[in-house]
Symmetry: C2
Subunit: 283 residues, 2 copies
Amino acid sequence: MSLARTLEEMRCRIDARLEEVLRSEDPREARAVDAMRYSVLSGGKRIRPVLCLAAYEAVGGSGDGALSTAAALELIHAYSLVHDDLPCMDDDDVRRGRPTTHRAYGEGMAVLVGDALLTLAFDLLAEAPPGDQVEPGRRLEVLKTVARAAGLHGMIGGQVADLEAAKDPGDASLIEYVHAHKTGALIAVAVWAGGRLATDDPTVLGTLCRYGRAVGFAFQVVDDLLDSGEDPEGASYVACHGPDAARNRAESLIGEAEDHLTPLGPRGDLLREIARYIFSRIR
Amino acid sequence: MSLARTLEEMRCRIDARLEEVLRSEDPREARAVDAMRYSVLSGGKRIRPVLCLAAYEAVGGSGDGALSTAAALELIHAYSLVHDDLPCMDDDDVRRGRPTTHRAYGEGMAVLVGDALLTLAFDLLAEAPPGDQVEPGRRLEVLKTVARAAGLHGMIGGQVADLEAAKDPGDASLIEYVHAHKTGALIAVAVWAGGRLATDDPTVLGTLCRYGRAVGFAFQVVDDLLDSGEDPEGASYVACHGPDAARNRAESLIGEAEDHLTPLGPRGDLLREIARYIFSRIR
């Protein structure tokens, strides 16, 4: 199977799992479930869950052992967007060409939808597939590490700093901090978590960590470049360093990410492909 | 030790654990940590964590095996209050005699503080104390069950229904649904979780479940009675049935809760005491 086909097939498995968990039989929950599905199943690149599954398979994982973890990472990403779009945060009306969740369902519902998606993510992180090969202790470790990456010392810390950065958009060290936390932490932990569910080997996990950090930072710089035509908000690498420096930085980060994969040999091909795909968005 | 002393000592252990986890060395996180501490360490009855520890000890648990789980339950409660007070939800300016979190720190920060508290709760639920006696698989089961009770099928579902009930405050079946979910689910799971961390015995866990459900409902009716002097919002048992019927209902629920504890004999004394304490608030 070609790498592009493999990626597409992974996205299908992730979307099927998300479809499956975003359901309710209870009519009283219908509107909230509708709003949750609206917020999650509206396209999106599924970068975090794809990285998780690709890392899992690159280091020897098989079957659905990482699928719920991968889906959980997408739910965490989706919740952060719903809350980030709120009027008291970035105040965005449109995302992916459609009204944002609070514009479509009201602000109160958007707050609750974000909370419900985050809570469901941890429900999924605690889930073992039938015939699970992963020991419960390792799942707990992965869950705890994801919680750290998503919490105040990770993604939320980046969002807090982003609120501050809106006041002083030219502070370069603050921008690096925001990027590393707001976007980088969850992308890096996606790679690590996939690996950890398949292996104990600290050398292999170190390799995945370095790759994850480089890819996470590259992803944010690329996103900044794609957004730079629009009204820039908060901390932006492009606003601070200019588009040429940003493009160079993204390219060198992708190169670094690929280099980090060398010890994995051909097993790292899919992760390499994903790194190039991220850069291809600005080519 | 008297039961009152035991309860007070439990509250101290819980507050010490909360103090310990609500900290950061990073100056960039200082304001957010400050807002988190403001939201959690401002008094409060600690009913959920106390019930968790009391249930744990009632069925043979010892040491700190349930302490992080107990603290996590208080963080989940605190996050739900911070988000519930937001202008787009209940729009409350004052809680426990002080400005609500969004009044003190701004709306954007209040959204993020709630998110951070919820995420930290799952970090704590995944935590094993040094020399832990509880198998990791059981911690995963407890974490997953708490996630269910806090999520769309539990607490958040109750909040969603409460948003709807604000439009039709006289619907009695909707009020039962809101109570059972918004408050009851987390209180009931606090009791069950404490028990589950100490025992496998399904009969004992069934006993704790029934007690937890009765106490959870009683707690909400009592809260409604205490609030009924103020401006009633959303679904209220008192607004629907009147204060006399509410008082009778609370009393009979507390009686039921005590009856459910009969199989535990004197081991159930502390849980019995907590049920009476809940009712004593309206005597």
